[in-house]
């Protein structure tokens, strides 16, 4: 229904309400802010990002400070989320762990989007190189994704950078496949043919016409990839094949917490809740973005 309104009555409605230029230029932005779930998710994620950026200023304790006097204490005034088996403050570790999660989530998505979009554009536009590229990516997609990540980490060894490398390899094929499918549709359009007929070079056609046309589904997909990457990083760290075990991350905390699960539930529950909330709000934001940017794929 929003779609109909934005098609037919957009100009008239704006004029009546005296809406600013932004609502006319980006009609999707209005349907985005009209959805309270999306707005709340975006706000939560902004707070998470801020907390991660300013972690050292916000946290009450040093996340790596060992204090044997307060080992395995439940939530208290001094340690709101309790302490772990080496007396470290759980709240501080969770806030610092968010840095790693968000860093991995965002950097993996940026790199996978750049690499995947390039491969997808080339593969969709040039039929000659389509088959070799796509068959290779099919091969990578033949692995259950977490298993491919585990396999790569097993060879490279645990470190934050290696997690980044492994997850870029895992998520690039999905993005390439998506961009390829929109490219295949776009390159048949009349405006691409007319661009070619006036002598534009392929590079300019791809960047100026084909790529922007596939941008909406790409942005939506990227939101979900951030969420997947965060879950995968936590899973890898939980298995001991992720970020260096001494670095506070949600996955590492859950791994440490499982050893003392019988005695200290807070070591497992709180980092897990942080993980779930972040992933949930990312997914909700992705759903909202899809409804706003890509009305054809709208959920009913």
């Amino acid at each position: 229904m929003v779609q109909v309104a934005s098609l037919d009555l957009r100009g008239a409605a704006d004029a009546r309400r005296g809406a600013g230029g932004w609502a006319r230029r980006w009609p999707w932005a209005r349907s985005l802010v009209a959805n309270p779930v999306t707005v709340l998710s975006a706000l939560f994620l902004m707070l998470t990002v801020l907390a991660a950026v300013f972690a050292p200023l916000l946290t009450p304790h040093d996340p790596t400070f060992l204090d044997p006097a307060v080992r395995l204490q439940g939530p208290s005034a001094d340690h709101p989320l309790g302490t772990d088996d080496r007396g470290r403050d759980v709240l501080s570790r969770i806030v610092h762990g968010g840095r790693v999660s968000l860093l991995i989530g965002i950097s993996v998505t940026a790199a996978a989007a750049a690499l995947g979009a390039t491969l997808g554009l080339l593969s969709g536009y040039y039929a000659r190189i389509d088959t070799p590229i796509m068959r290779t990516l099919d091969g990578l997609m033949a692995f259950p994704s977490i298993l491919l990540a585990i396999a790569i980490m097993a060879s490279l060894g645990p470190s934050t950078f290696n997690v980044f490398v492994a997850l870029v390899v895992v998520y690039t094929p999905t993005i390439a496949r998506l961009v390829r499918s929109t490219t295949l549709v776009t390159k048949q359009q009349a405006f691409v043919e007319s661009a070619r007929s006036i002598g534009m070079v392929d590079r300019a056609i791809l960047l100026r016409y084909v790529f922007p046309n596939g941008l909406s589904p790409l942005i939506v997909q990227c939101t979900f990839v951030v969420a997947f990457a965060i879950i995968s990083e936590a899973s890898l760290s939980f298995l001991g094949a992720g970020v260096d075990p001494e670095t506070p991350t949600w996955g590492n905390m859950l791994r440490d917490g499982q050893r003392v699960l019988q005695r200290a539930w807070w070591l497992s529950v709180f980092p897990g809740v942080a993980l779930v909330l972040t992933v949930l709000t990312l997914n909700l934001l992705g759903d909202g973005l899809r409804d706003a940017l890509d009305p054809r794929a709208r959920r009913r």
Binding site: A142, I146, G157, S235, L254, V276
Partner: protein, 316 residues
């Protein structure tokens, strides 16, 4: 149909080859000399040379690949460095828990996902629909290992109803076996159930708008019959694809779930082998799981063609 199957099998070959190259390449991705990395700091030059010989690392890469891949095709993954037995044997001992866990999780996924999706579609836009959709979205945000930990906390630590881990073979004691597998299967199957429910819901909504559904209602058939016998059968066809891809997610998730619940399956073997740097085992297990996934997807695609003849007729 036979031509279609053959074509699909031929299309599978490059995929299997790429899978093979990736898994083979794993050993050579390691920074530095693989044999030295495997043996650790205390190894002498002679030890390293012996292991290089055993692993065949002294041959040119293409020769190594052909020998290794030839072995894989005969289900021979080489010798484990740590366990002192052939990888194939080690895997065979650990297949049962992994396969059963995946199947139980699949059963849970289907038995939660399909009814929930149908209910949400039939009561479209009702509070029940919105509640089910919210549960499905939240379920997808809970990683399997964290759901597993929560289930252990509640049912094993707090209530003491079920064991927190371990494995009893099915043949030994079926009741204890099922009791032990219940929590891991729920942990693994629940989040995929949400995905399936959302898909069943949307394809049910499409089908319920079709003319033949209206005709069935017009004939005076009760809602139950129309929904189950007329609509659901058609709505499940697109769900087949999701079930196929979620086998991959379940197999991958089983690796993590086995670690949470200390189940001696292939996934736990992979995780343990990482610390032991037992590359032949890692390679063999990952190759076996990836090949299983590829074959399951082929099977699902063929089922799809069988269930929906339009695909076959349109394709050829």
């Amino acid at each position: 149909m036979i031509a279609y199957i053959l074509r699909r099998l031929v299309m599978l070959l490059p995929v299997i080859l790429v899978v093979g190259v990736v898994v083979f390449g794993l050993v050579h991705l390691t920074p530095g000399e693989p044999a030295a990395v495997i043996l650790g700091d205390q190894a002498t030059a002679a030890d390293i040379e012996r292991l290089r010989d055993q692993l065949g690392l002294n041959d040119p890469l293409p020769v190594q690949f052909v020998r290794w891949f030839g072995g894989v095709l005969r289900l021979d993954f080489g010798e484990s460095i740590f366990l002192g037995e052939p990888v194939t044997g080690a895997l065979r001992d650990r297949v049962q828990p992994t396969v059963l866990l995946t199947l139980y999780a699949l059963a849970i996924q289907i038995s939660i996902g399909v009814p929930a999706g149908v209910l949400a579609a039939v009561r479209h836009n009702s509070p029940l629909d919105r509640a089910l959709t919210m549960v499905a979205i939240s379920g997808a945000a809970v990683p399997t290992f964290f759901l597993g930990i929560l289930l252990i906390l509640l049912f094993a630590v707090r209530l003491r109803w079920l064991p927190s881990g371990g494995y009893v073979p099915l043949a030994e004691d079926p009741v204890a076996h099922l009791k032990g597998m219940l929590l891991p299967a729920v942990a693994l199957g629940f989040s995929s159930a949400g995905l399936l429910a959302r898909l069943v819901r949307s394809s049910m909504l499409d089908v319920l708008r079709e003319d033949f559904v209206r005709t069935a209602f017009a004939k005076g058939l009760p809602e139950r019959i129309v929904v189950i016998r007329h609509a659901l059968r058609n709505a499940l066809i697109p769900a087949l694809t999701v079930i196929g891809t979620s086998v991959g997610a379940l197999l991958g998730g089983a690796v993590v779930t086995e670690t949470v619940f200390t189940i001696p399956g292939m996934g736990r073997l992979v995780v343990q082998s990482i610390a032991r740097r037992d590359y032949p085992v890692i390679q063999g297990a990952i190759m076996a799981i990836a090949l299983t996934y590829v074959l399951v997807n082929l099977l699902v695609d063929l089922l799809y063609v069988y269930a929906d003849p339009r695909v076959r007729l349109g394709g050829s």
